[in-house]
Symmetry: C2
Subunit: 139 residues, 2 copies
Amino acid sequence: MAANSQFAIAIHVLTILAKSGDERVKSDYIAGSVNTNPVVIRRLLSNLQDANLVVSQVGAAGGSSLAKQPKDIYLSEVYKALPCGEVFALHAKEANQDCPIGRNMAAFLCGLQKDIDKSISEKLHQYTLRDVIEKIESA
Amino acid sequence: MAANSQFAIAIHVLTILAKSGDERVKSDYIAGSVNTNPVVIRRLLSNLQDANLVVSQVGAAGGSSLAKQPKDIYLSEVYKALPCGEVFALHAKEANQDCPIGRNMAAFLCGLQKDIDKSISEKLHQYTLRDVIEKIESA
DNA sequence: TGAAACTGTATCAAAAGAGGTTACAAAAAC
DNA sequence: GTTTTTGTAACCTCTTTTGATACAGTTTCA
């Protein structure tokens, strides 16, 4: 299971919230649609809350709803809200520093990583949650 | 360890090969610079060979060298040559198909994944191995 | 006021993946 | 034919992600 699917689940969760409008949705219900455990959903919602994408309320009649309109939620925000890993990892162990190549490799790769991450964010900034909903409904 | 560092190591390996020109380099030597096990390097070289980026020779006096000039090796080729995971994974378990949202989510996410992957490839196509070497040497 | 219904989190167990290691067959060189 | 080296299989361990249980704290409502 070691592949991070939080972004995928987040899109799913946000779509459900969008379709529910102002009505609060319980983590239990969302978990049913996503087919996972309510705690997994609550953990995720916690991240989305920190990024001001959703609001949750505790207690009876509690639940979550979007913090803003679907048209104002960019997928780039969702991506940034989550602790997704980078596209590629740097070496687990540091390269041999006695080797002139090894010595400068990490810095280069780190820069490349940032560069790629920026590309991804830009691509994701082309989509809002509303676009997602439209695509899914027309399918 | 569960984050894939093969791309990072591949760049490192290719840089070493580039600096060695026509001279064949042994997996043992490369492993020393990358600070890992020779078998890990050979596994990686095997992938790079399949993509026609390097050539290896078995036997005494064997080793590996680049299959083409550094200026003709695009980082996008390196990326494609490796079994790197996607930027984000789809849900581990399939979403609930009784839910209208869940039913169409997978297709959408899959398309988005391809879209992002294309962005990454385009970004990486802006760099060749020669660019990498120049950057590292000027550091 | 007290029971019921939720969220938020901590903690643990289970599953999967990545990388490290050993071992050995096959190939080439000398 | 001995030595050196790649190619690959097999196995172990570590890490990460997800699933699951438990429970404290909040809010609603009778």
